[in-house]
């Protein structure tokens, strides 16, 4: 340890003690004033710098917080929108299932609910795959309905799944009649995805747009009275062979999610169980 250092320490200690002694003898204000003359302006400047710096910092923090909050709120809104969609989806599903359940409860024949798990929507084939199959004792040609009306018939039964040919399939044919005029005919799918009411007796048919076409029950495959669609246009080409009505299907096949497979006695008239007026 060198002498210079010790001397410095001694000097410093002496100054400090002197300051303390001065203060203890009531001269504190003089000692403090003497030092304050130098330090007060510096403190003033420092305080302003400090205030300015902290003001800037506070502004920056506010800005940053606002940005972060903005981002957080955007995320929250996005999350809520997704939640809203999920809730809406659940509400829709609930409504559909309730309608299906309601229909199932009021139908006087055996039914089996099924969920649509796949769709084939090409021009050649129009079908739905449902999650009921051989294990559920589903038979080929089982009628398939939705709360709005007829969907089609089972054409293929596999383990755990069944293929349902929908009415718009070009090879689909269903015996039908008009509710208002009792005019009989056959409903066929067409390659463009529409449905036609054909082979109806031309004379006295009296079918007009808006008429409801339902299953006739002839052939024993489909129960009588299930809505198929509503006439939207009449195509009169002069020959009974080509005379047909264009139908708007009662069921929206592209959107149907749940269906009922009719497993019981199909020789029943179900007209009273479906709305045909609206």
């Amino acid at each position: 340890m060198n002498r210079r250092g010790l001397a410095l320490l001694g000097a410093v200690v002496l100054v400090a003690l002197l300051l303390l002694t001065l203060q203890s003898r009531g001269r504190s204000s003089q000692a403090a004033d003497a030092v304050a003359v130098v330090t007060t302006p510096v403190q003033l400047v420092l305080s302003r710098v400090h205030r300015g710096a902290f003001g800037l910092w506070a502004t920056y923090l506010d800005w940053k917080n606002v940005r972060a909050e903005n981002q957080r709120l955007r995320d929250e809104i996005r999350g809520l929108r997704v939640d809203g969609l999920a809730v809406q989806e659940t509400v829709d599903e609930n409504r559909r299932l309730r309608r299906l359940l309601d229909l199932r409860a009021r139908l006087p024949l055996g039914t089996l609910p099924a969920e649509v798990i796949a769709r084939e929507w090409g021009g050649w084939v129009r079908s739905l795959t449902v999650n009921r199959g051989r294990g559920d004792k589903i038979a080929r040609l089982t009628a398939v309905i939705a709360p709005e009306g007829l969907v089609g018939r089972v054409v293929e039964v596999r383990p755990g799944a069944a293929i349902v040919q929908v009415l718009t399939d070009p090879t689909s044919t269903v015996g039908a009649h008009a509710v208002r005029t009792r005019t009989s005919g056959i409903v066929e799918g067409d390659p463009r995805g529409g449905v036609r009411f054909k082979y109806m007796a031309r004379d006295g048919s009296g079918i007009t747009p808006g008429d409801v076409i339902v299953t006739s029950g002839l052939g024993g495959l489909f129960p009588r009275g299930i809505p198929i669609g509503r006439v939207t246009a009449i195509d009169d080409r002069g020959s009974a062979l080509f005379h047909y009505a264009v139908l708007a299907p009662a069921v929206e096949f592209a959107r149907v999610e749940e269906v009922l497979l009719l497993t019981g006695d199909t020789a029943r008239d179900l007209a009273a169980h479906f709305p045909t007026d609206g």
Binding site: M1, R4, G5, L8, L9, V12, V13, V15, A16, L17, L18, L19, L20, Q23, S24, S28, A31, A32, V35, A36, T39, Q43, L46, H50, A53, F54
Partner: protein, 162 residues
């Protein structure tokens, strides 16, 4: 060099007046000028440590409105002592930094307490030690170690880039 020294000491005072309240944990605020004095003394030796301690302590005494000279004296002694012993300490080791600063803070606190007692400081020793000196010493230890680590990292980065 003197400018650097003055700036460092002054900077420590400013930081103490401005940042220390923000760094408070409960009622415990770090003694940043003490950390600065210790680091300066370790790097520059006992004379610098002594002067820096005196200046920093004096600034704090004035800023806090207490007895002028108490912290000037205790910090000057701490700065001198650390500067004198500095060569024997491996301050890059956290195992030295934290307890070292803790011990120095306690020593400075004890010195301050006994000096103040001479001027009829009313608070009891145990309370001052329990609620003021020891918590602040622990805080100083960790903050000082963090500061040393940051300093060493910055230096190594600078060396690598130059």
């Amino acid at each position: 060099m003197r400018t650097f020294l003055a700036l460092t000491v002054f900077g420590g005072g400013i930081v103490q007046a401005t940042l220390a309240p923000a760094l408070r944990i409960g009622d415990v605020a770090p003694d940043i000028p003490l950390i600065v004095v210790v680091l300066l003394a370790l790097r520059r030796g006992s004379e610098t440590g002594c002067l820096a301690g005196f200046a920093a302590g004096l600034l704090q005494d004035i800023a806090t409105g207490g007895l002028i000279g108490v912290q000037a004296l205790t910090k000057a002694v701490v700065g001198f002592g650390v500067g004198a012993l500095g060569g024997r300490l491996r301050v890059t080791q956290p195992l030295v930094q934290v307890p070292g600063l803790l011990v120095l803070s306690v020593a400075e606190g004890l010195g301050r307490f006994f000096l103040l007692k001479l001027f009829r400081f009313p608070a009891p020793f145990t309370e001052v030690m329990t609620y003021v000196v020891l918590p602040q010493a622990v805080y100083n230890g960790f903050l000082g170690a963090a500061f040393v680590f940051a300093l060493l990292t910055a230096e190594s980065f600078r060396d690598r880039s130059s």
